[in-house]
Symmetry: C2
């Protein structure tokens, strides 16, 4: 595409973080708005990141015996109504299908063929999947049942932002059924662990994890495990969740089985999901005022090579050398792009910088004469001259270093922006002035949490599993409580 002046401009983070975020998505060519309210088009470069997320997760799921399947997009209205909390949570924002054709009337196409019972487009699939499970599960021998679905879902959100909150989004949703409560709890924890591996090791985003409070949990769950990250503006972001659904859905949809004593029992179920929202988290964790920054393990392109030449003779020499290097790097599974387009090298540097490619290699006639290449890394911008024979080693190590460095930065940022206090005034000040996490005691009374939200706009992000057994005074009401909670303003 012809690039225009205005298209290249990136608002600095310090000026307006929210504008910066949209600018990064535009200049890195990840996604764009669509003519459909609140829905985006995920462009090839953005989708390639999602494909890498999918590949990693799908492989991890299969390792723990989860099988993929596919369930209908449309959910009968009556299904949504079966679980009281669930319908409460989702009825207010769903796309409703009421007709099955368009018909011409006075020269205009209007909906026709009204359905007896409307359908909603799945906002999540617990209801339709547990209805199927009720047929699949008869005996304890059929358990555990471990199913995942890669799908699109629709939630009619009022305020949307690309990747973070869109009317339609892509995700995977896992649904499992177990014979005992403990097995279901273990599964919910296991899958949160799989997500942690993706987010920390592949995406280089440091997270805190733990349970959601009752008022923040999934509509229909006994409890929800969440992985919370901290964005560069100090706001928290829920990256994904894993729910212990108890017997709530199995009782609503009769997912029951005969146990070893031939007695009827209801199954214990879990569900867990991660969506294209993770790409929003990825952008806001690492990118800078020059553009997108991608951790090498998830980057669609890990290394870009820019051939540099003026004369035809140089071109031949340079391209031969490039082909040689391409072969070596590809054989070592490095995801590589050769930018063979015509045009000034400076323009290309600028473009790949904006797209967050971790490592750039430049090869010109002088480099060939010196038997070396120039390498520039995206996060430091440092230029290094690398001997040809050391290139493969250099690239391998450099990519690993960048990955480690990004995770270290993310972890340091999270720790530096996590503060503890017992005083509500300080609590409020911290949330207002410093942002980040504030870590404080909270009692069991949901009213305290509600009041805090009203007064500070911050929400309880999670109750970590591993905390002291000490007790302390609730930050709001001063009653003694034993749970310490991460609070933050959040996306």
């Amino acid at each position: 595409m012809e690039t225009k002046e205005y298209e290249d401009k990136i608002t600095p983070r310090a000026t307006d973080f929210s504008d910066w975020y949209l600018d990064i998505i535009r200049v890195a060519d990840l996604a764009e708005n669509s003519p459909v309210r609140g829905s985006m088009v995920i462009k090839p470069y953005g989708y390639a990141i999602w494909e890498n997320v999918q590949k990693f997760l799908d492989n991890e799921f299969k390792k723990v015996d989860v099988q993929n399947a596919y369930f209908p997009l449309l959910i009968p209205k009556s299904f949504l109504e079966k679980e009281a909390e669930h319908v409460e949570g989702f009825a207010k924002e769903c796309a409703v299908v009421t007709h099955h054709r368009l018909e011409e009337k006075d020269g205009k196409l209007v909906p026709a063929g009204e359905l007896e019972e409307p359908y909603v487009i799945r906002p999540t699939s617990e209801t339709i999947i547990y209805d199927a499970f009720s047929k699949w599960v008869r005996s304890y021998r059929d358990l555990p049942l471990l199913i995942n679905q890669w799908a699109n879902v629709v939630r009619w959100e009022m305020r949307t932002r690309p990747f973070l909150r869109t009317t339609e989004f892509l995700w995977q949703e896992g649904h499992t059924a177990h014979a005992t409560k403990i097995e279901a709890e273990d599964e919910a924890i296991l899958m949160a662990g799989v997500y942690k591996k993706l987010i920390e090791e592949e995406l280089a985003i440091s997270i805190v994890s733990g349970k959601k409070t009752d008022s923040e949990k999934f509509a229909g769950a006994d409890y929800t495990i969440t992985l919370e990250a901290l964005m560069q503006d100090g706001k928290a972001l829920q990256t994904c969740t894993s729910h212990m659904l108890g017997q709530n859905f199995s009782k609503s949809f009769d997912v029951s089985f005969l146990d070893e004593k031939q007695e009827k029992q209801f199954a214990w179920t879990t569900s867990w999901g991660l969506s294209t929202r993770i790409i929003g988290a990825l952008i806001m964790s690492h990118s800078d005022d020059k553009g997108l920054v991608l951790p090498p393990r998830i980057a669609p392109i890990q290394v870009v090579i820019i051939p540099i030449f003026v004369s035809e003779e140089d071109k031949i020499n340079v391209m031969n050398k490039v082909a040689e290097i391409e072969k070596t790097l590809k054989e070592n599974n490095i995801r590589l792009k050769i930018d063979k387009r015509e045009g000034r090298p400076g323009f290309k540097y600028f473009e790949w910088e904006k797209k967050g490619v971790p490592l750039r290699i430049e090869i010109g006639p002088k480099d060939i004469a010196n038997k070396s290449v120039v390498a520039v890394d995206r996060i430091s911008g440092n230029k290094e001259f690398i001997k040809e024979e050391e290139l493969l080693n250099f690239v391998t190590n450099k990519l690993k270093d960048i990955q480690d460095k990004l995770f270290e930065n993310s972890k340091n940022f999270r720790l530096e922006n996590t503060r503890e206090t017992d005083l509500y005034e300080e609590f409020k000040n911290l949330l207002e002035s410093k942002k980040g996490f504030v870590y404080s005691y909270l009692c069991e009374d949901p009213k305290c949490e509600e009041k805090i939200k009203e007064e500070t706009m911050a929400t309880a992000r999670c109750i970590p599993f591993d905390q002291d057994i000490k007790t302390g005074e609730c930050i709001f009401c001063k009653k003694e409580g034993n749970k310490k909670v991460f609070f933050a303003k959040a996306y």
Copy 2:
């Protein structure tokens, strides 16, 4: 799942082909009906076949520089209206979204929040994708633009059958834009070639290909290339299509560019798709009265091993040997399942036979003593004793043999069931008594085709590219024509 007597029964093909088809889907556990009108649940074993189709195609697409992206599920009604033939083709059978929430009224949930303009759930995505292309394409340098999307689509079909015709189905749809007509035509042909490779080499289904007649082409295309297979009951099945869209959509959606002379031109576009319908074709091509038959290259499980033992001591020896063989076969990328469940071996043989696993290996104490195993192939049912050290070679060759044999059978069946005639009476008789393809001349007048359809229920399946330059008399009106056409009753 507990198996019930009635669940195991397979209607013989000769008795009722249509019941047989549904029985195969049930006993092989591929899919089941859902509570959503005309939509199925694709169960893990059926979905695993689809995943193999996806993996193959996705890889082939990337080889020819096609990139994946994702576009909205919902299509504004006004978009559908922009291409006259297109809306004609799809308006009569689409799911219409008219509201964006459910609200309680008199104790019932009713649709609320009516939309100003309704959306339809995509029946295909030409309109929404070419709208995006109109923003992506500015200069001839932006072309060709080669995009694919993996997605679900909804068409409100009146008569549905699992895999073959469902309200919702999964597919991929490729959309490309080119600077010249010839490049677009080449692309449509190239992608038909990719499909042919999948269908013949992976799925072992022999096809004929060529253009659709004008009355059978895609709504909005200049012409459609189709790949037609013949099912075991002699009915034809359209496995997939590749469309040359000419400038129809680029003019409706203004996909235009400045050429090298800085003059505005409309792009030439193509679209091409293959859906979960292909699994219906796969089932009806190879399966028999004992159950599903799968070609090894697409089978989720290529080899199943059944350990056989009574005593605990035998169990240890057998399982050790099984683990050894598992290691060898897996290292050689053979997709393997060890059936470790308790239960009679005979029951297991029966189950894997129904599921179409190409090769079964049985290992018991006697086999260990003889340093051999028993192998039974799914299509011949022959039992062979294989020396342990020859096992890997045997398995590799046997899987290849089965693949070749299935394709050969499919090809022979198609050729045996393709008949030529110049006489309309014979034409009618053949279609009635023998089924299969009848290959005859057809003139350009669409009325002949229409009349033939009325009188015989058969449709023009395709006009092959490679045919004699001879002319002949139209099978219906006897006017001289130069195109020979495959006719058949079809799915």
